[in-house]
Symmetry: C2
Amino acid sequence: MVQIGKGNFSDWYINLILKANLIDYGPVKGTIVFKPYGYRIWEKLMFIVDNEIKQFGTQNVYFPIFIPESFLSKEKEHLEGFSPEVAVVTYAGGEELKEKLIVRPTSETIMYPIVAKWIKSYRDLPLIINQWTNVIRWEKRPFPFIRNTEFLWHEGHSLHSSHQSALELVFKVLAMYQKIYQDVLCIYGVSGRKSESEKFAGALATYTYEILMPDGKALQGCTSHDLGQNFAKVFNVRFQDKDKKLKYVWQTSWAITTRAIGALIGVHGDDYGLILPPKIAPYQVVVIPIYDKKHDKKIRAFIEDIQKELTQVYISVSSALFPRLSALDIYVDDSEHTPGYKFNEWELKGAPLRIEIGYQELKNQTLTCFRRDKRERFKLKLNELKNNLSNIFTEIEKNLFLRSKEFTEKNTYFVKDYQEFKKIMKTKRGFIQAYWCEKEECESKIKEETKATTRCLPLDIKNSRITNYKLRLTNYSSKGKCVYCGKKARNVWLFAQSY
Amino acid sequence: MVQIGKGNFSDWYINLILKANLIDYGPVKGTIVFKPYGYRIWEKLMFIVDNEIKQFGTQNVYFPIFIPESFLSKEKEHLEGFSPEVAVVTYAGGEELKEKLIVRPTSETIMYPIVAKWIKSYRDLPLIINQWTNVIRWEKRPFPFIRNTEFLWHEGHSLHSSHQSALELVFKVLAMYQKIYQDVLCIYGVSGRKSESEKFAGALATYTYEILMPDGKALQGCTSHDLGQNFAKVFNVRFQDKDKKLKYVWQTSWAITTRAIGALIGVHGDDYGLILPPKIAPYQVVVIPIYDKKHDKKIRAFIEDIQKELTQVYISVSSALFPRLSALDIYVDDSEHTPGYKFNEWELKGAPLRIEIGYQELKNQTLTCFRRDKRERFKLKLNELKNNLSNIFTEIEKNLFLRSKEFTEKNTYFVKDYQEFKKIMKTKRGFIQAYWCEKEECESKIKEETKATTRCLPLDIKNSRITNYKLRLTNYSSKGKCVYCGKKARNVWLFAQSY
């Protein structure tokens, strides 16, 4: 296995996802096949996200994948943002089509003209809908999970009678994503607002959770958009307010995608393979029998006991926002390989906890356990394990999250001098915190000269007041000088190279 | 509301699905938007099917939506079957594509060349995979849910080391679909094998569940295909058997689609709207408060009690194969409409059980209940309802299924004379059972002259022996004369006009 962090992260990553049976390549460039082990991670994440969003009244829907070209063209910024990336159907049913069809890159422009008919009065608001779909964005430089021509996601969309109500949802969703990243995926990141040039095409503002990957590049982990009334005005989405006046709705949209799996692989993985956090691992516990021919029957019976006992353990599979319990997934690897092969295999596949059962374990009625995150063996009686399983998983989660946090903090630099900025981006990369005057010119010069873009204006979700529609700066004073032009700058922004 | 069964079924159907908020039309001809109430039905069906298929070892996966044209062309029959219906992407990412991409109409041709790499030995078999996706088939005469340009489905695919093993799965799946239709959707139908001309393009044999709709037309409710080794040979899907020889795998594929919702609407609906079976209804219980201004607080408190008590009731949401329990979905309609409006609304939307709570109910501590299927009011104490809810739902299910069975039997005719055959198809339609010599010539003449096609060779799943790869005829002797040509015919087939 190639080592990480030595300039060959992408070799390590590609090698790992193929070996661990997460994906296969599709025949069309930039597409991937989710194999059972890889899809199961997505399935678990879907279950968690779906549960969370339904708690605040989201209803699932499904809109067609084909968007008439004229629909996409209605919002100008949106069209400009997406037109270089779309795939186009020009004939169907044996005939050339009169109007070309865009294969959805996102669904605002097909949803909103239709949703406009669903609402009449303020009583119909807020309306929060969501769909789980595939989307297509043609990628020039595809990278599995992180940049794919076709990927899977959920897209939430909401309509409100006021900007305040819309913003509350934007931040509720961002807080939910942050919780999921931190509590479920155990990945540290920085929440914040995108710059004008980096925001979603057609949005007033875009909020994000930015993750630092082992190669020092940033990954945008999710998005929550304040769409304002831009789309409402284009698609004439109006409601009658309490004062009987017809008004445009305020809208939001938000998404988390299969890219989250890319973050998971990159952030936690090590030279031995994947490390999967318990809430998202296809199997939390993998049991490996060590047969010796003499005691095989008894070993098998012992394993059956273990399975029976441990499937009675329920663990929290949701974020802390809306806790939900689920039965443990246990896998007994009874394949014909040697125990040593299986140890490597399940380290590669990142099973959080491995249990080895041979004659020694049978004789002493003790389980030899192996924690993947620390690569540490320990022994426990079955009952002790059963009673401590939740704690062990919590410890694994804490350990993974702390590691990710420490790595990020170690590789985050507060920089005042542009030469230092350039040097960091040229050598070690990482997150840079720097004052920026918020003029697009400086931003694009920095990008040109260092490949680093603004990732976000960091935001302390808990302590931010959203009533004034502005984000509070965290930790820094509002008097600084732009790292590029030296002129007055009020905010410290996060910069990094990105995928 | 338009009345059913008077020659205007399709007006009634379209009117109903729009009024009941199941769908909206998409901008592209033949596409529909699943609104929250409509999608929730699909979501519940997905949950049930997904649970069932995982019981026999199915693992979920995801394959790309774009199939290179050359892949689709590899299996000749398959290509001929699907090429008139496909949508084609010709440019993407701002450039014309070198190879055209087919938007998946089904996934055999993209899955199998890739899956070929996943299996090496007989130990890797059977491999059973499944995906939940959208698919595209260009429809000349679209009809919502029943024939859509884009629809949602699951597609299961399996690989086996023997034909016997493959066939066992084909019938296990067919039995599962039949159970779901009968126990969950409460829809009677006829299981059987498709004729050579009606089978899936590229299959050895296709099995189906055929449903009689109120207008006397048949609806194909699902399919389970015995693919034999056709695709395996085309895509070189081989394994090393126990005898060390390389052999082609035996394959199956199977699907149930959003068309099932069309069957649900058509079969159970009446002049007042939808009638949804409890296991699949978005809300099993809808509570309608009848406020009188004087006692509103107490009425509200009483309703809260009811909610609290009834959410403790768990009902079986799966078919009888693998029972699974789920909490009840209860909706309290607190909108500003009158009680009368709400009664009509929830009859239209087909909620299985309605509970009306006003001052009378409060005073007598009694609930006024309304069963949608029988349109019958009855009174019960809260505790009585709680204890009887499961029984009530079972009764509703039995009643709906029996109605559907009686309707089908009443409209099924055993016909020996072709003039009678023609007359029935011209006037009342329905299912016709008739001897057919199994020559394609007679089949196509019958189709030409009566619009009726062979629906299937009926099959008694429970009593059929599958070891000889042939289906036992049910009820009829194997000595008959073809209803068209009068020549010797061994089997009685089911005929009908279809969607």
